[in-house]
Amino acid sequence: MWQDLFNILVFPGGLFLFVFGLAAEFVDRKLYARLQNRAGPPWFQPLADFIKLIAKEDLTPGEADVAVFKLAPILALAASLAAFLYIPAWGKRALFSFNGDVIVVLYLLTLPTLAYFLGGWYSRSVYSMIGAVRSLTQLFAYEVPLFLSILAPAMLADTWNLSEMVSFYSRHPGYCFYNIPGFVVAVIALLGKLEKVPFDIPEAETEIVAGAFTEYGGKLLALLKTAFNIEMVVAASLLAAVFLPFGLDLAPAALGLLYLVRVFFIIAIVAFLRTLFARLRLDQMINFCWKYLAPLALAQVALDLVLKGVLAR
């Protein structure tokens, strides 16, 4: 029991993810700045921001639904933390696993978005409400391609268990290359999930201030930001596990290092992509997702189904 508690609160859950989230935020921000020819923040900046935020006064809007407003960030954080326990981040085995956990992980990763919606909607500010509606609308656009692109490799591996999937791909490293279209789709959909340019429509600063987060401040905002960072790390770990299962037979120390490299690689791609574009409009974003992203994801599914038949023979 103590072991489980340690796993959940300290490593690899809670504390580890918090620190890793801060590190991920730093990498993201530093790279973003360097790509724009700026010096960028020092390494402790995310931690300094966190400390500053928790030291600030907590304000709840008078008309907000206090319970939902306060619970939403906790829900977002909890869902992201829970999802991580089922992801075989390093090695071939996750901490917990059962058949069908890939579906659970995907839905746990949807929960934060829902929490942002609830928090935004019940803070009863016009900006938050518009931001909340936008994040939900956007969810419908990127969620299907994201799910399909992650489920397609599962079909090829013939299992709904993430850990078994990873073992399968490490036995057949060549098969990963069939999933490259899926990886592209997943990274682009990840931009939507993490609300980054060009899909940062729900928190478009120049239109609706900060979207669903407009009314948040102090500790709650610190919590929300942490949830966001952890969501980024967890989603990147999921993508790394599914699409980049290389070198999983190394020594444990090397495995840990390899895991960091893989996650930072995906975060670097995200940082690079978000410097590259202008923000799309909501209608353009949905159009893009359904016109290009979803068909590409479907093509990946078809490819994997065909491959499964061919390879089984």
């Binding site: 016009v126 518009i130 060009p198 478009a204 239109e207 609706i208 202008a278 923000r279 799309l280």
Partner: protein, 409 residues
């Protein structure tokens, strides 16, 4: 949320999209804008009145501070009017220096605008790059005039600082660098598809509408109206310089972007011509402190459009009346036309596309009938009273505070 399914969202007086206080009340149905009302006046500083109780020399610095970006435009426009009344013909070298600073200011303003436009559509990389390049011209302005923004180069009867020989090389080098960068931005603007998607066919303003609503500057020129005070009513040294008036018939935000980028290229060429043709000689003529009575109208092509000043003198050291009509005031009325049937997401870039400067403008306008939304309008006065009484309850004594503040300064 309104009964009819419409939401009214206030963009301003404080909002990240706006760099100055002004208020746009936007009625939304879903993501579509159904009505827009613009409220200005948060920045009214009574400069016109203040000018009447200061000498011409003091006014010059006050007028320069009307705007934080086109400071040289306002001060030149004012000083031209004063010189016309006094019958002063300034030396040729001074005319060229005014032109030089004016063009450098246009370069800095247009680069700044390009960055702001990028930021409004979420393209922060463009913002960072253009503002980095803008530093080149800011450094030149600082070394030429002694300040980055409030140049203070004008004085009645000429200019205050001369160009030193070592500036010449520096300026020409910077022009080469900036020209290369601008060419890159033109290329980027004509090929980056996310940029075109966000700018093209957004904020349409037909030629007839632009004329009717009195649009000026790049806003009018992007609607195909070939007007430029530098060409039509030349001042300073523009009559002796060779340049093209850039127009576009696209009528949208994309057109306005292309016009501004084209004008940047013209400005580089103008600066080079100035450096080549600048005559030697004195930079000021002697003037008295008193200006004879009379009146004059002065026009100047600021980066944002035509700047208009009217000065009336009464023979004393102080003007009788100074009237300032900043370019944004002429353009702001076109905004409601541009917002028709657009999305909320287009609002920031449409407003930014006229390159608004509200501290210049500062007036208040209603563009759409708001009566049917009456219960949703924000009573600022009530809020203000409430906050004052709240602070009183907290034990804040305003009278003592005011006295204390007065003592401190």
């Amino acid at each position: 949320m309104h009964d009819s399914g419409e939401v009214i969202i206030p963009i301003g007086p404080q909002h990240p999209a706006l760099k100055e206080p002004e208020c746009f009340l936007i009625s939304l149905r879903g993501e579509k804008i159904t009505a827009a009302s613009i409220k200005l006046g948060y920045n009214h500083r009574g400069i016109e009145k203040a000018c009447e109780s200061r000498t011409y020399i003091q006014d010059l610095y006050l007028i320069e501070r009307i705007c934080g970006i086109c400071s040289h435009s306002h001060s030149t426009c004012f000083v031209q009017a004063v010189e016309e009344i006094a019958g002063i013909e300034i030396p040729g070298r001074a005319k060229y220096i005014r032109t030089l600073i004016g063009e450098l200011e246009r370069i800095h303003s247009h680069l700044l605008w390009l960055g702001v436009a990028g930021h409004e559509i979420g393209f922060d990389t463009l913002l960072m790059y253009t503002w980095r390049d803008r530093e080149v011209v800011m450094d030149i302005l600082a070394s030429l005039t002694g300040n980055r923004v409030n140049y203070g180069i004008n004085t009645v009867g000429g200019v205050r600082r001369d160009i030193k020989p070592d500036h010449q090389e520096k300026i020409l080098k910077a022009m080469d660098l900036l020209e290369e960068r601008t060419k890159y931005y033109i290329e980027l603007g004509s090929s980056e598809s996310t940029l075109i998607k966000r700018l093209s066919k957004v904020g349409m303003l037909s030629r007839a509408d632009a004329k009717n609503l009195g649009a000026v500057g790049p806003t009018a020129r992007a609607s195909g109206i070939e007007r430029d005070v530098r060409k039509d009513d030349p001042y300073a040294a523009y009559a002796e310089l060779d340049f093209k008036v850039i127009t576009s018939d696209k009528c949208d935000v994309y057109g306005r972007t292309l016009v501004r980028l084209g004008e940047l290229m013209q400005s580089f060429s103008l600066v080079r011509q100035v450096m080549q043709k600048i005559p030697s000689g004195p930079i000021t003529v002697k003037t008295g402190r008193k200006i004879p009575s009379g009146e004059a109208v002065s026009r100047y092509e600021a980066p944002r459009g035509e700047d208009f000043h009217y000065v009336r003198a009464n023979g004393t050291e102080m003007p009788e009346r100074v009237k300032v009509r900043a370019p944004t005031l002429a353009n702001i009325q076109a905004v409601s036309k541009m917002l028709e049937d657009r999305y909320l997401a287009d609002l920031p870039i449409v407003i930014a596309a006229i390159d608004p400067c509200f501290s210049c403008t500062d007036r208040m306008v209603t563009l759409h009938d708001q009566t049917r939304h009456k219960k949703n309008t924000f009573a600022w006065e009530t809020i203000r009273r409430k906050s004052i009484s709240w602070y009183r309850q907290q034990g804040v004594d305003f009278k003592a505070l005011n006295k204390k503040m007065a003592k401190l300064f």
